[in-house]
């Protein structure tokens, strides 16, 4: 027991030591990538040590090694759930929600009347806790992934809308005046000035949306679902005290979410390469 706790403490210090060495020269690409990995490994090692050292019951918090074993043994279940929740629910909802928000943002931006009326109301609606919306949407759209997609649409819609509207307004006065001196049409100004200038904001919305989409799809499954999906598996397994499977699903969620986020960040980097925040 003492041994495992000692292991946890040791792992923690070793990890921090390695990382402060890595941080000494942050210009190097591999060091930037290695640091979070080392940090994660440190946390996992400390977790293993603490769970074993304090002999924490497996039905409360399983050790990482147990979770990993379950993960490897349940790949087929995890895959089915992943397809149901992430591909069908989250991704389709994300595309619909972000797409709709984008188009409406352009419309709002075009008509200041809408802007003054819709944004305050929109902010109010955005404050609706979606946890409450989820059962209603399940009631409206049925049990399968469609209702999950609907929850995701509601969740990603407003962050995307607000960011896009703000981005479309984020052109400098001089940049707009320049377009005026060319007597450029509305659409020319939109495509050649406002959309490019809005990209950093739009990507902010898209990035926030990635984590929201995942959470939304999973949470919606708590309120009714077919007998597959990550949310279904999590809630069912908690009831069965199969905490190792719960954590395996959480690991899938974290990996999927981080990957989704990372992909958007990469696309952002290539689209908004010109923005000061991307240049350092």
């Amino acid at each position: 027991m003492i041994g495992w706790i000692g292991f946890a403490i040791l792992a923690w210090f070793a990890g921090m030591l390695v990382n402060s060495w890595l941080a000494r020269d942050p210009g190097v690409q591999w060091r930037r990538l290695a640091a979070p990995i080392v940090f994660g490994a440190t946390m996992i090692a400390a977790w293993e040590g603490i769970v074993r050292g304090f002999d924490i019951s497996e039905v409360l918090l399983p050790a990482p090694s147990v979770i990993a074993a379950t993960f490897a043994a349940s790949l087929d279940i995890l895959w089915v759930d992943f397809v149901q929740t992430v591909i069908k629910g989250a991704l389709s909802g994300y595309l619909i929600g972000c797409g709709a928000a984008f188009l409406i943002a352009v419309a709002i931006d075009r008509y200041p009347f809408l802007q003054r009326g819709l944004l305050p109301v929109g902010n109010f609606v955005a404050a609706l806790p979606i946890i409450g919306m989820a059962p209603i949407l399940v009631m409206w759209f049925g049990f399968d992934w469609q209702s999950k997609a609907a929850v995701v649409v509601v969740m990603v819609f407003f962050p995307m809308l607000v960011n896009t509207v703000q981005g479309l307004q984020d052109t400098g006065a001089m940049q707009r005046d320049l377009m005026r001196t060319y007597a450029a049409s509305y659409w020319q100004t939109l495509f050649k000035l406002r959309l490019p200038a809005a990209m950093p904001f739009i990507f902010n919305g898209l990035k926030i949306g990635t984590t929201l989409a995942l959470i939304g799809a999973i949470v919606a499954e708590f309120f009714g679902s077919p007998v597959k999906g990550m949310g279904f598996r999590i809630s069912t397994s908690v009831g069965q005290l199969a905490l190792d499977l719960v954590w395996a699903e959480i690991v899938v969620a974290a990996i999927a979410g981080s990957t989704f986020y990372g992909v958007m960040a990469l696309i952002e980097k290539s689209v908004t390469f010109w923005h000061p925040s991307q240049r350092t």
């Binding site: 400098g172 001089m174 001196t181 060319y182 007597a183 450029a184 000035l193 490019p196 200038a197 240049r279």
Partner: protein, 257 residues
Amino acid sequence: MTIIQAQNLDLTFQTNDGPIHALKDVSLDIEKGDFISFIGPSGCGKTTFLRVMADLEQPTGGSVTVNGVAPEDARKARAYGYVFQAAGLYPWRTIGGNIRLPLEIMGISKAEQTERVARVLELVELAGFEKKFPWQLSGGMQQRASIARALSFDADILLMDEPFGALDEIVRDHLNEQLLKLWDQTGKTIAFVTHSIPEAVYLSTKIVVMSPRPGRITDVIDSPLPKDRPLDIRDTPEFLEVAHRVRDGLRAGHLDE
């Protein structure tokens, strides 16, 4: 032929600190082929006046015509090129792409675009920088690119707001010479804002001295200098005399305060 005619222009900005009288009772005629410089202390309304001509600002009184029509119609007919006080290049476009922008908007053919971009880059000595992005250039180079952009579509009127402010003297001298040559060859009408007395005198056929609070014209000085101006004309007595008049006008404006 009168290209730009301003009569009793008035412009007041409403701010929460109360109104600012940026232009008061400003009247001026600019003839075809004129090179007019505006000079005056910070905040005297030079930029504002230029913006009124460009239909970027609405006067609160008086009238302006550009090419005989309202500024709005002139703008829509793409009658002028405007160089802003700051370069204002779009960071997501290369230098070439920035210069191509007005050409795209005006629907000029691809081939012609390429040809024109090459020509104006040559003119401001930026050939070879076409593919670079704005932030990869020094401030002075950016300013030159923005001048090239305003020249690319070959409008008959040029409105230039301190285009050479960020440049060192040698480059500035050089660009002054180029601008004079261009003006001479093409017969454009140019309105030019500057802080430098020698620059104003060297370039202009007419120098307009302005004064702040309220912004107004205090003096209009016709230059007796010939159209052909080598750089060392700046050491001639005629030149120095005009420069003196301008300096006196400016100083009077400062004493007012």
